[in-house]
């Protein structure tokens, strides 16, 4: 167990020290989400009715959750690259804890996710977003965000171990996650959707998490959304972490 913790930290450190040396990734983390915030706020914002909130207030929790869910993308790409360059072979030949390579990756994602969420919050504050709740609520919301992102990193870890090329990892992850984030309450109220989509949107973990964020940051009625979101995150981890690690145990390079 101690070995698992130290090995995980070693791998997380490895993934973080290489980050500033691959600036294209940092740009993907920062510039792209800012661009989306501006597009939604100023292009669509005027046409979308969000009863009870200004669109800036409505949008920021939604777009941050979407962005955080995609934060694990680097994990899928990075693992795939490691697999093909033979690094996974090297790791698997070392006397290290078996889940550490994946756990270190996903842990590193938490740091980068925190960074990009902070950038998005700052952008939000500039375009008219306000916290309507206490400081503690805002911090709790940030914590929930990181937990949700961490859960999705395990989904991406699985995708990265499953697919044969980085391109495939990219498109599988995109096709699986992108619609999920849009058929949710992230950008528009679900009440405006056709019935079938609305039914899906209402049970979608994204909707539940976005609603939880709105209650923690904007003071919207919580219902069971906060607990629901936490449960969803743990369910996703409980499903995807074991299958991803199982994949890793049998992984073959190249």
């Amino acid at each position: 167990m101690r070995r698992l913790v130290t090995d995980t930290l070693i791998i997380a450190e490895r993934n973080l020290i290489r980050l500033p040396r691959a600036p294209e990734l940092l740009i993907a983390f920062t510039v792209q989400p800012i661009m989306f915030v501006l597009l939604f706020r100023y292009v669509f914002g005027g046409a979308i009715k969000t009863p009870g909130f200004s669109y800036a207030d409505f949008l920021i929790p939604g777009i941050i959750v979407q962005n955080i869910a995609f934060g694990g993308f680097v994990t899928a790409l990075g693992l795939n690259e490691d697999l093909h360059k033979g690094l996974i072979d090297r790791f698997r030949s070392l006397p290290m804890a078996r889940p550490a390579v994946l756990a270190g990756r996903t842990l590193a994602d938490v740091v980068t996710n925190g960074l990009s969420a902070a950038i998005l919050i700052a952008t939000g504050l500039l375009i008219g977003f306000h916290f309507h709740t206490s400081f503690l609520h805002a911090v709790a919301g940030f914590g929930l965000l990181l937990l949700f992102g961490y859960a999705f990193s395990w989904v991406f870890a699985f995708v990265g171990m499953l697919t044969s090329t980085p391109e495939a990892a990219n498109s599988v992850a995109f096709i699986a996650v992108f619609p999920l984030t849009f058929i949710s309450s992230a950008f528009v109220p679900v009440a405006s959707m056709p019935e079938v989509l609305r039914g899906f949107a209402e049970v979608n973990p994204f909707t539940i998490t976005v609603n939880a964020m709105r209650s923690l940051w904007l003071g919207a009625p919580a219902h069971n959304n906060v607990w629901g979101a936490v449960v969803w995150a743990f369910v996703i981890i409980a499903v995807f972490a074991p299958v991803a690690v199982a994949r890793y145990r049998r992984a073959t390079g190249r």
Binding site: R3, G86, S93
Partner: protein, 326 residues
Amino acid sequence: MTVEHTIEVNGLVKRFGEVRALEGVDLLARQGEVLGLLGPNGAGKTTLVRVLATLLKADAGSARVVGLDVQRDAAKLRERIGLAGQYAAVDENLTGLENLTMVGRLYGMNRRSAKARGRELLERFELLDAANRPTKTYSGGMRRRLDLAAALVAQPPVLFLDEPTTGLDPRSRLSLWEVIEGLVSEGTTVLLTTQYLDEADRLASEIAVIDQGRVIAGGTPDELKDRVGGERLEIRLDDAAHAEVAARALASMADEPPSVVGEVVRVGVHRRSGAIVAAVRRLDEAGVGVEDIALRRPTLDDVFLALTGHAAEADTDETKQENKDE
């Protein structure tokens, strides 16, 4: 229990769907020797290394390395082996020193001693100047040396080298060979796969020739060469039209008739000394002009050709199969 052989492989079988990568491989290697695994691409060499390095489970058979079962004692075995391969598995975005430090820590060293060990290896492999540069700026030869250094961090008694010099320029190959020879002289046991016969000839004390998942021959390089026959004279005539005359003139020198390919005549000889003079005299009497004449020992190329019926050349379709399937 005493360990007689450092590497002991018995009847190892591994299939990937329809592809039979290993079909009952037996191998033995003593401590401090280089066992060369020679064979074309797709012969099963990489699969065998992957099984021995605990990366892959065999379907049948058993294998022990330093007395540890590769399957049952895998976790313990990983502390005693080093693996370096043709793909130079280093993190391109980390510096050389960061790579080695990371590997050392994953072997269980603390940060300080992992770093010290990393420096020591970088110095030994003449990479100290590049210690703080990301490895993506390294040349192919430098990466390969770093990869080998990473395999040596924990000073493992057994080293698996999977085609360590494939794709390297001659100078880098030579320097890597010297490093490997140094390790062996210190007592490291090495299992080396290669498709280069000169590499096996230079490094290996014992060779197993592997083709289509089976060991088809084994022995020292000299034993294998003897199996193909003794030394041969290779004579290049100035005119291919005289080849038949030349062959007839030389026939009494050997038990088997000389072989003729274009203007080149080859003939086996019983005794090395005097063979060239005797041949030149006979050809001169027969009125045949000679452009070049040389005494040649059989190479492992000849061995391979004689054993498998095909040259030791790449067979890429099979390789792809072996690498893709799991």
